[in-house]
């Protein structure tokens, strides 16, 4: 036991299973469970357990927010700006108020309020209506008269950087950024439409470049990608005298509750947020959003429940997007490959929002003593960007990993050999080894070496993502006298299957089957769980779930020990029974033990403790684990040099998420990450008309997405990587799986055709232009 008496010393499995496991000693809080053995020794954790809510999903029984219909529910609809930049001179909603179906009207953009009288993108909310039907709401919206004074606008990032460009904001109106943001940090200077730079620095870059034998330099450009959640953003707000209940398709019930309480001046105890089925978020459903605030305001005014459900065009224009970026990378290296300097400059645009940087990969992936970065946001008159699956690092890796590929060629080194020399991560080293074997890396030929018009190529790229943890994350476990078990938390299942993972976690403790555990989540009436973003859900909620279950089990052991006439410490739970450890034929069923409880129900609530070896950094409710999550992906492509069509034939994704909890669901998520990356690499592009500021493809057919026929064979390999950091030692997978795909494909395309594509998406036109077969399109 430690000197302070609050912890005990335990030995945890440690290391990568395929390399060989060792042990690591940690101090564990006294009220937390003993170390969880490696997956091979467990009954249900680490096994491909089917999704606990799978039956509901395949039968259509799952209730999504868009399926909620409350008695007396009204339909809300938002009037949106038709202009990319305008001053509102007057707005008259009286005729709309007089429409027989209308129950509430609110004005969002107010001419009399200097802070709210300017609209800055097409689709910006101007006013909203709640009516008895959607048809009535649409009719009434047309009755609102708005007098707009058009202002000059700019819808292109490069044009917006010019000193003479129309200004999107002035220093008073520009968004402020946030204290923990990078590069959306607070307090950065605004110069025209350019905000920043957010800088990073270590060592002396000038000296570093002087020490290098070679310098490579490249510019990379990435497009705007939209989230395209299949379930639109949706909310049903029910404002009542005794409190507010909100059904919302959200990635963070507890966070939305906080926002609602703050926005509407309500105590947390009077705000309830609920989500059952949640049809995808990918970052875009992290907060309350303007539509959420509008729905609640309409409900308050109408004294009735109000549903707002964005249509697909609204989704594409005003539900967030992954910012477009431009970056220039300079990398200096010695002949042996060792890096001497990295210099990064970036400009990105999140439209009217901040946060368009290219992340941390250039700074953190490789050993390099000298580094500098200057990242900038550029405002344009377009819908606000927001977090999207591995924000920053996705465009960042597209640049960095092509630059490293280029450096390897310059040094006449195999890209894997170069990375073995400059990448300090033992995780990625093992991932490279496994992936190279799977894809058949030794087949890789010189760039453009295939003789025919269809040229094949192999490429590799790596990823890095912080292992995020939510500290403000709690879970309750209950056992009833009839032996039934419940797990309760406000954590939401956005499709990643966290409910199933919780069932596995708790079943493992009790020696039960996962299907015997009832999962009640997605409701802020339960202990506040973590968000489903930042790949932190599993890392944040499974340790408290195991801890809470373990504490309840100790209570149950106490009852069983009395009956069995042994010490509680001599009991174990497995196979549905509570047994004496050294005399496994002595025991009773779990159900019989529960029947001995003095009360109908016992329970324990546990919250996320710190990682046992501490965190690298802590930021309010969140923290960053000491270890990063590494990934390596390999792509095999076939490029038709006559049509310009790139076919990705195979992807091998080797990923790390600490302890894999459910390999079946992890495989699903990794396949999804790879496909989203492939779709980003080849197809997706939010196209803005520069002359009107309007998105010309605000739908799901002209906004191109990879479909079943573009889906390659995807091999998913997940490491078992133990660190002894928490009660489950599990971390996230969603974002890491989305980072390396586009650069792996780009490197494979280079290997196929011998010409490097430095801009996304790699369309047939872009390929043919790169090959000099058609003129370059501006």
């Amino acid at each position: 036991m430690a000197a302070d008496g609050t912890t005990r010393t335990e030995r945890f499995p440690s290391g990568i299973a395929s390399v060989g496991l060792g042990e690591v000693e940690r101090q564990v809080p006294l009220d937390e469970p003993p170390p969880l053995p490696a997956n091979a020794l467990l009954a249900v954790i680490g096994k491909p357990v089917p999704r606990q809510n799978g039956r509901a999903k395949v039968t259509g029984a799952t209730r999504f927010t868009v399926d909620i219909a409350l008695p007396g529910m009204l339909h809300g609809r938002i009037l949106r700006s038709p202009l990319p930049h305008a001053q509102l001179r007057a707005i008259d909603a009286s005729a709309a108020l007089g429409h027989p179906g209308v129950r509430a009207v609110i004005v969002v953009a107010r001419p009399e309020d200097p802070a709210a009288s300017v609209v800055r993108y097409i689709g910006a909310p101007v006013a909203a209506i709640a009516a008895v039907s959607m048809a009535a709401a649409r009719e009434a919206l047309r009755l609102i008269r708005v007098d707009y004074m058009p202002l000059p606008f700019v819808a292109d990032m490069d044009a917006a950087r010019a000193p003479s460009a129309p200004l999107v904001y002035d220093s008073a109106s520009a968004p402020a950024g946030h204290p923990s943001g990078y590069p959306a940090a607070a307090g950065l200077p605004l110069n025209g439409n350019v905000r920043g730079p957010a800088t990073g620095r270590r060592g002396d870059v000038a000296q570093g470049f002087a020490q290098g034998d070679v310098v490579i330099e490249g510019e990379y450009r990435t497009q705007v990608q939209t989230h395209c959640c299949m379930e639109p953003h949706a909310i049903v707000a029910d404002w009542r005298a005794d409190g507010l209940t909100v059904h919302m398709s959200t990635q963070f019930t507890a966070g939305v509750r906080h926002e609602l309480a703050e926005t509407f001046g309500l105590p947390l105890s009077r705000v309830r947020v609920i989500v059952d089925g949640m049809g995808g978020g990918f970052g875009s459903k992290s907060t309350l959003g303007n539509y959420g605030r509008i729905a609640v305001a309409l409900s308050r005014q109408a004294q009735a429940p109000v549903r707002i459900m964005l249509d697909r065009e609204e989704e594409q224009m005003d539900a967030g997007n992954r910012p477009g970026t431009w970056q220039r990378l300079r990398i200096g290296a010695r002949r042996d490959g060792s890096l001497t300097a990295i210099s990064l400059a970036s400009y990105g645009t999140a439209g009217v929002a901040v946060g368009a940087g290219v992340g941390t990969v250039a700074e953190a992936m490789y050993a390099c003593p000298n580094f500098e970065a200057a990242q900038h946001d550029v405002f344009i008159n377009a819908g606000p960007g927001c977090a999207m699956r591995a924000p920053g690092n996705v465009p960042g890796a597209f640049g960095l990993e092509q630059a490293i590929d280029e450096l390897a060629e310059r040094l006449s080194l195999d890209p894997l050999v170069l990375r073995d020399r400059i990448d300090p991560s033992p995780v990625r080293r093992e991932e490279r080894r496994i992936g190279a074997e799977r894809i058949g890396w030794q087949r890789r030929h010189a760039p453009g070496a295939d003789p025919g018009p269809v040229k094949r190529g192999l490429g590799v790229a790596q990823s890095l993502w912080g292992a995020n943890v939510q500290i403000n994350s709690a879970c309750e476990v209950r056992v009833m006298r009839d032996g039934s078990v419940e797990v309760l938390s406000s954590v939401q299942d956005i499709g990643t299957g966290i409910g199933t993972v919780l069932a596995q976690t708790v079943a493992e403790v009790f020696g039960l089957r996962p299907e015997e555990i009832t999962i009640r989540i997605g409701d802020t009436e339960f202990p506040a769980g973590p968000p489903s973003y930042g790949s932190r859900t599993t890392a944040s909620i499974t340790p408290p779930a195991r801890t809470a279950a373990w504490r309840v089990l100790q209570l149950l052991f106490r009852e069983a020990a009395l009956a069995l006439n042994v010490a509680a410490g001599d009991l174990v739970a497995r196979d549905g029974r509570i047994l004496v450890r050294d005399e496994p034929n002595r025991g009773m069923s779990f159900r019989d033990a529960a029947a001995r409880l003095r009360t109908d129900r016992i329970s324990a609530v546990a919250s996320r403790s710190d990682d046992y070896a501490g965190f690298r950094r802590r930021m309010e409710d969140a923290a960053l684990a000491r270890q990063d999550l590494g990934g390596v992906q390999f792509a095999e492509v076939a490029v038709d040099t006559e049509t310009g069509i790139v076919r990705v034939e195979r992807v091998v994704a080797v990923q790390d998420c600490g302890r894999p909890m459910n390999p079946l669901q992890i495989e699903s998520q990794v396949q999804g990450g790879v496909l989203m990356g492939l779709s980003y690499a080849l197809f997706e592009d939010r196209i803005l008309d520069q002359h009107t500021g309007r998105m010309v493809n605000p739908n799901l057919e002209q906004y191109k997405l990879a479909g079943p026929r573009e889906t390659p064979a995807i091999d998913v390999v997940v490491l078992e990587n133990y660190q002894g950091q928490s009660a489950t030692d599990a971390y996230g997978i969603a974002e890491p799986s989305n980072i390396a795909t586009a650069p792996a494909i780009a490197n494979a395309v280079y290997n196929a055709i011998g010409v490097r594509l430095r801009a996304l998406p790699m369309t047939p036109a872009a390929i043919l232009a790169a090959l000099g077969k058609v003129p370059v399109r501006s």
Binding site: P48, R55, K57, V58, G60, M230, R312, L664, E701
Partner: protein, 181 residues
């Protein structure tokens, strides 16, 4: 394209029988045969089949994601043929049998495709899943022994942003195998 065509066929059938009188915009009574049950409802003629199912009939398993026939989330069967229910008006359905995701299982017994979707984790958020299941199940009705390419073609109109396509293909092939066994 199949879906748009079926909507036109519906209209053509109406025209052959003399054509409906001008109706609407007020609600009109119609009869729909859904999952073997005949239902009578009052709807505005502009109501799509998807809206009628999800609204008046309370069958919310059918999803609307794009509302213009681009994503196939709203796929149901009309006389066994898959259609985008957002692309056909409810009044055009006529006497055809509508099968929705709620009508696929037989009581507690899941359709083999549904069972295989669970076993192969062919879903994540689950929003596109009902439509995807309807297309996969329809494929097995007309082609009991499909190849992976056949499955990809059958579901090629569906958009799944979670990227479940590989597991959907695996599940559908497994369901075909299970039905033969």
């Amino acid at each position: 394209m199949i879906d748009a065509a079926s909507a036109i066929i519906g209209r053509a059938e109406g025209a052959e029988s003399g054509g409906p009188a001008v109706s609407g915009p007020e609600p009109v009574p119609i009869t729909l045969k859904v999952n073997g049950v005949t239902r009578t409802l009052q709807i505005e003629p502009r109501t799509t089949l998807a809206e009628a199912l999800r609204g008046r009939l309370g069958l919310t398993g059918t999803k609307i994601a794009c509302n213009r026939g681009a994503c196939s989330a709203c796929t149901v069967w009309l006389d066994g043929m898959t259609v985008c229910s957002c692309m056909i008006l409810a009044i055009e359905v006529g006497a055809r049998n509508v099968t929705t995701i709620e009508g696929l299982a037989r009581g507690d017994a899941l359709h083999p495709v549904q069972a295989a979707f669970i076993a192969h984790d062919a879903m994540q958020c689950g929003f596109c899943t009902p439509g995807m299941v309807m297309s996969s199940a329809a494929l097995l009705e007309r082609m009991p022994d499909p190849t992976a390419e056949d499955v990809k073609t059958a579901i090629s109109g569906h958009i799944c942003r979670c990227g479940t396509y590989p597991h959907v293909v695996a599940a559908t092939l497994a369901a075909a195998k299970a039905r033969k066994a």
